[in-house]
């Protein structure tokens, strides 16, 4: 059986590789555009996927409301930017305040969702919490739809066209550059937080053994809340950035983005932080090539096929630990 898979795998890789090289040679600029586009996409996925993976790592819950936190980030930025824009404030100040408000609001929502919808179910069967998460997701979508509007609203980019980037702007826009650079900075900061700080170590310890963490004086509830807040902050940043990139938002944008980021997290190995980043980049770049070279209309089908394939062949993902090892 095994050699059949291997043969098929090698054959597909060979054909794709051949076609790929031919394409790359015939139009290298297009290839570069797709690669950078994929990197941008992957960066956004990564900012959202982190929240899924950190929450899963610590309480083994797929937080389906996480996409909505991202949407709320984008919404908040839109509202703040519109109001301040009307008052005629300076564009740079608006951008900073919009991001700050987006992060604060999303964190508040993430924190509250955990307290209301998940904490009371901490010791209930996992399915209960999952259903609660889906309910929370629907509630937030509909709440924002009613509070705002079901229509798409234009989102004027908060990011100017940088003069120094002008010569390369035809390959990658200033917005895309900002997205990639911001993501790298966020990842590095997050890495430092998790690896070296007191709260970061407490997060890892809590993810590995909650009872032992409590026996060392760690307030487990507080650590879980912090995890939600950190994940919400990165999702909010992702929301603002993508809104600048796409130029319009509505109450429903969190659904698809959330699902894609979830797929990325599963692809990388849910529960693993480097896995979420890697999975996001792999998904973003492969989606970009797939739509660029094959069928653009099947973009989402492609992502979901990847999900199905991983779940069948490697449910623990690229960097995931095997189920037995997972704490």
């Amino acid at each position: 059986m095994r050699w059949i898979y291997i043969t098929i795998g090698v054959a597909i890789t060979g054909v794709l590789g051949f076609l790929g090289i031919r394409e790359v040679v015939s139009d290298p600029v297009y290839f570069l555009e797709l690669l950078l586009g994929g990197l941008t996409r992957g960066s956004i996925y990564a900012l959202i996927a982190l929240g899924y993976t950190m929450v899963y790592g610590i309480i083994q819950l797929i937080n389906f409301a996480h996409g909505e936190i991202y949407m709320i980030g984008a919404m908040t930025a839109l509202i703040v930017a519109s109001v301040l824009g009307l008052w005629g404030w300076n564009a740079g100040v608006i951008a900073i305040l919009a991001v700050v408000f987006a992060v604060v609001y999303s964190c508040a929502y993430g924190f509250t969702v955990e307290k209301i919808a998940y904490k009371p179910l901490r010791n209930a069967p996992r399915l209960s919490a999952l259903i609660s998460a889906i309910g929370m997701s629907l509630f937030l979508q509909n709440y924002v739809m009613l509070a705002q509007t079901p229509e798409f609203m234009p989102f004027r980019s908060l990011i100017p066209d940088f003069a120094f980037w002008e010569p390369y702007a035809h390959i990658m826009s200033s917005v895309e550059l900002t997205i990639i650079v911001t993501t790298v900075i966020v990842m590095v900061l997050l890495g430092i937080l998790i690896k070296f700080t007191r709260i970061g170590k407490a997060m890892r310890a809590t993810a590995q053994d909650k009872v032992m963490a409590a026996l060392l004086g760690i307030n487990v509830n507080q650590v879980i809340s912090t995890t939600f807040v950190v994940g919400s902050a990165t999702a909010a940043i992702g929301g603002v950035l993508i809104a600048c990139h796409v130029g319009q938002i509505n109450f429903f944008i969190g659904f698809l983005a959330g699902l894609k980021a979830f797929i990325a997290a599963v692809l990388g190995g849910i529960g693993s932080i480097p896995g979420a980043v890697l999975g996001s980049l792999v998904l973003g770049i492969s989606e970009s090539f797939f739509t660029g070279y094959f069928w653009s209309e099947y973009e989402d089908v492609f992502a979901f096929s990847i999900l199905v394939i991983i779940l069948i062949f490697r449910p623990s993902g690229i960097l995931g630990k095997h189920e037995a090892q997972k704490v």
Partner: protein
């Protein structure tokens, strides 16, 4: 110093502790012995606030701690080395020790305490950057005790420190336990199935059967008691 008064603990319908009374005096080493399933681990988990007592009370230095959450109890100075050590498998040895000092912020003292435990167990110093999960059983037990010492405990609760270890390692661990009690004046509460070992190390002992304390006396007297000899010492 630590007083359990008529403590009842349940897991759902299972009545695991049926009104136990235990008193630990400052500076003492006491042992709680009993067969598998007697309720020894439950006694420690209830004391630490992980499994709540349904009735009865637990007092520490005159303060009622029955309903405090686990992390608050650690703050008062009651630290536990639970059954099975529960080393964080993906944290390094040094990070595991850091977690022991989680509640402290006296950086210099933490550093010197870390040197102290590396002195007690030099093997840990060699392994300081290795993941906890890769240590042997004996090394994990050493790390678990060291991690608890990093809390600067007033009372150290040890759940079956000898479980699954080679005799030579058990001997080493028990001599260190004695040393901690004598040098740091730390009060120690050991839970063991290995009655011989635990009673020799202890000033006083308690015997538990099916969630009830059936006997208490000095370690020496329990060791020479005929019933204990038959039931727990295999003599």
């Amino acid at each position: 110093m630590l007083k359990l008064k008529d403590v009842h603990t349940y897991y759902g319908n299972i009545h695991a502790l049926k009104g136990i009374n235990i008193e630990v005096t400052e500076g003492e080493v006491i042992s709680l012995i009993g067969a598998n399933g007697a309720g020894k681990s439950t006694t420690l988990m209830t004391t630490s606030g992980v499994v709540p007592a349904k009735r009865g009370s637990i007092e520490f230095k005159g303060k009622d701690i029955t309903h405090l959450p686990a992390d608050e109890i650690v703050k008062l100075g009651i630290c536990q080395v639970p059954e099975g050590r529960r080393i964080f498998p993906y944290l390094t040895v040094a990070e595991n020790l850091d977690m022991g000092a989680f509640l402290r912020n006296d950086t210099d003292q933490i550093k010197s305490d870390m040197d102290y435990v590396y002195g007690l167990f030099p093997i840990l110093a060699n392994r300081r950057n290795q993941a906890g999960g890769t240590l042997s059983g004996g090394e994990q037990q050493m790390l678990a005790i060291s991690r608890a010492l990093m809390c600067r405990p007033k009372v150290l609760l040890l759940d079956e420190p000898s479980l699954g270890l080679a005799p030579i390692i058990i001997k080493q661990i028990f001599s260190i336990i004695k040393k901690i009690n004598e040098e740091q004046n730390t009060t120690i509460f050991i839970v063991e199935q290995n009655a011989n070992l635990a009673l020799k190390a202890a000033h006083r002992g308690y015997v538990m059967e099916n969630g009830v304390i059936t006997m208490t006396d000095t370690g020496e007297n329990l060791l020479s008691n005929e019933n204990i000899k038959k039931a727990y010492l295999g003599i």
